[in-house]
């Protein structure tokens, strides 16, 4: 029971972190190595907002501040993402490897910027009163923050799904991703769609940043820890499929927790990665594949 809950909560964190990637990488084929840094920006945003409101409104401000910051973090990273797309990423469509390297350069710059602005010392977001403590069911205690993160993931997932499959924008987006020139012929402004898609992906990273701020301290390298797991979740699930990403992150989350109870955490990390890599040899396209007859998929 305890194991299940731990697995579920780790999966939800990985999923939240990789949702944004699933969009930028899965749909746009842009490898955003600065994704972790967008999470860092989100985390720092909630720190700043919380502190601002705390000075204005006192302690209750801090609690309100955290929830407010989730929306603001989305907005901030959305804007930065949009800027980045215009300046850098838009020049690299079709050059996947180059987009990977260029965004790595961006992540170096963003990390240093965080050090310059916030100093090297880690900072902390106070957990709102509502979310502190845990509920006890039988022998297991379910911590409130974890439950909140799981709920947050569910909301984001629902929103993304709605956006992608139930709105006009989503249809346009999928059209552009599937066949750009055809979509352009149909009168879709593909530049605008690209920009929006990338920005939404970045915005989701900002929300993920707010949630990891609840789990530990925030410093300039906080995003780096998630890079490998999130990329693997997207690749494992199958690039371009939302459901695949959900399944991919659950597999990584549950198996990490599972192996960790048996061995130590370093070994567990290695075992999980190796198993995934071996699995990818069997199915290089991931769990779910978008069927296509193109040679270069």
């Amino acid at each position: 029971m305890n194991l299940l809950f731990n697995g579920l909560s780790l999966s939800s964190i990985i999923l939240l972190a990789s949702l944004g990637l699933a969009i930028t990488f899965g749909l746009m084929r842009v490898i955003n190595m600065a994704h972790g840094e967008f999470m860092m920006i989100g985390a720092y945003t909630s720190y700043v907002i919380q502190n601002l409101l705390q000075t204005w409104l006192g302690n209750s401000g801090a609690d309100v501040g955290y929830f407010l910051s989730i929306i603001i973090a989305f907005a901030v990273t959305f804007l930065i993402g949009s800027l980045l797309e215009t300046l850098v990423v838009s020049r690299l469509y079709g050059r996947e490897i180059d987009s990977l390297l260029a965004t790595w350069g961006i992540s170096l710059i963003l990390q240093q910027a965080a050090r310059t602005i916030f100093g090297t010392q880690g900072v902390l977001v106070t957990t709102p009163k509502v979310l502190s403590g845990s509920i006890r069911i039988g022998k297991t205690s379910l911590s409130m923050t974890r439950l909140f993160i799981i709920a947050l993931v569910a909301c984001c997932l629902l929103l993304v799904w709605f956006l992608m499959y139930r709105t006009n924008f989503g249809r346009q987006m999928r059209a552009v991703m599937q066949n750009r020139s055809m979509a352009q012929c149909m009168g879709i402004n593909s530049r605008k769609i690209d920009n929006l898609t990338f920005s939404i992906g970045s915005g989701l990273a900002g929300i993920a940043g707010c949630s990891i701020a609840l789990l530990g301290s925030i410093d300039s390298t906080v995003g780096q820890n998630y890079i490998v797991n999130t990329f693997m979740a997207v690749v494992l699930g199958g690039v371009g499929k939302l459901l695949g990403t959900v399944l991919g992150s659950s597999i990584i989350g549950f198996s990490s927790i599972g192996f960790e109870t048996m061995t130590s955490s370093s070994i567990a990390k290695a075992i999980v990665l190796l198993i995934i890599i071996i699995f990818l040899q069997k199915k290089p396209q991931g769990l779910f594949t978008v069927r296509s007859r193109a040679l270069d998929e």
Binding site: N6, T120, L124, G216, K269
Partner: protein, 413 residues
């Protein structure tokens, strides 16, 4: 013709580039630190970037504070101290490269620096080859003594061993050892295991290591809950502490349910983790911001004045601060900056430090210092709950402890 021009241009430019590059490499020679008439150059070697910058910033600040104070006071042997700062970038091999640069190229008189044991071990050979002195300000795992390193922090018998003794005195019997996967926790736990094995009725109920960058502690906490210890010996490093204690608090586990004794949590970490989570837990150090000495009041005041009221001092910052003063005292006793002369002067040298009077043990170049067990209080500061009667002599190899000799924790050679 045009194509030929182009190739010519390529070759010429590449050649110039190559030459200038190599010139760039050797240009360092011209600026070799001329120790001049009225200044002496020292090196500061810490991580300013990368993951360790989080921790090393404050000790670097304490060193700069001490240097500034000494300069305002007339310097060392009538010379003003100048410092060259190098960035180790949290990477041991960069530490090695930069140590070479400081010693070989800049020819500094001495170097204050390093934090992690891996960076210290990476530069140790270099300091021995150049016969220079490294002032290492961090408590560490012991089992080492080099005549080219002055260990300003606690040896295991000045931090770990007294802390375990204190816990045993208080009646704790079930110990859980939790640490980062790293040389300090592994060696510390080897020592603690030996120490607890020698006591009837006490036992180690579990031992776990977390990866250095781990932020997910739920399964480790489950393991701890299953083992039901009454005290957790925590040797986690840096950011891991924050995640661990936050997630412990999320499970409604406080110091009343399970006491923790931490060896890497000082005032700064308390500030980051939050006093409301940590209050009631125990730590073991040689110095706290609240330590009641006259020298300490001056130190805390000067530190806050220079770096801001919200900054706190810690054992590590204090040791780094002392290192500069100890070097000054040694140079003045020796009457020169020469490494051999300074080393000779070090034997038995004492200074009045914020933590009390500290004395260099000439044999192993560690410091004899008082040990204090402290408790974190709500205001975010640490208050002493128990202290040794006087300074404890350093014993990095634990040769004076019967249980340690019996368990064979000493290196073979």
């Amino acid at each position: 013709m045009k194509k030929r021009m182009r190739d010519l241009l390529t070759a010429v430019t590449c050649t110039t580039l190559a030459l200038s590059m190599i010139g760039c490499g050797s240009s360092g020679t011209d600026k070799s630190a001329d120790s001049g008439e009225d200044t002496v150059t020292v090196g500061l070697l810490h991580s300013l970037t990368g993951s360790m910058a989080i921790s090393e910033g404050s000790i670097r600040d304490a060193e700069v504070l001490a240097i500034d104070e000494i300069n305002a006071d007339g310097g060392v042997l009538g010379k003003q101290i100048e410092y060259i700062e190098e960035d180790g970038a949290s990477e041991p091999s960069t530490f090695a490269t930069k140590a070479e640069k400081l010693l070989g190229e800049d020819e500094v008189a001495t170097v204050f620096g390093c934090w992690t044991s891996s960076s210290r071990k990476a530069v140790k050979q270099i300091f021995e080859d150049y016969n220079s002195l490294l002032w290492y300000p961090v408590q560490y795992e012991g089992m080492e003594s080099s005549k080219n390193i002055v260990y300003m922090g606690a040896a295991p018998n000045q931090q770990i061993v007294p802390a375990i003794e204190y816990l045993l005195d208080q009646g704790y019997t079930r110990f859980f050892l939790l640490g980062s996967d790293y040389v300090f926790p592994r060696t510390a736990n080897m020592i603690i295991n030996a120490q607890i094995d020698a006591v009837d009725g006490a036992e180690v109920v579990g031992e776990e290591y977390a990866a250095m960058d781990q932020t997910e502690f739920s399964s480790i906490i489950s393991k701890i809950e299953a083992a039901q210890p009454d005290v957790i010996i925590n040797t986690l490093n840096g950011t891991g502490n924050v995640s661990f204690f936050k997630q412990l608090a999320d499970r409604n586990i406080t110091s009343d349910d399970m006491m923790t004794m931490s060896f890497s949590i000082a005032e700064e970490e308390v500030q980051t983790i939050g006093a409301d989570i940590l209050k009631g837990n125990l730590v073991s150090w040689n110095y706290y911001e609240t330590t009641d000495t006259e020298k300490n009041q001056e130190f805390v005041k000067a530190y806050k004045e220079k770096y801001g009221e919200d900054r706190v001092t810690s054992d590590l910052a204090e040791a780094a601060y002392d290192a500069v003063y100890m070097w000054k005292a040694a140079c003045e006793k020796a009457g020169s900056f020469d490494t051999d002369a300074v080393r000779e002067a070090l034997d038995g040298l004492s200074i009045d430090a914020p933590e009390g009077t500290i004395t260099v043990n000439g044999e192993n170049q560690h410091i004899s210092k008082p040990v204090r067990i402290g408790e974190v209080k709500e205001d975010g500061l640490i208050y002493e709950v128990s202290a040794t009667d006087g300074p404890v002599e350093p014993d990095p190899y634990l040769t004076t402890y019967d249980w340690a000799v019996k368990a064979g924790v000493q290196p073979l050679e």
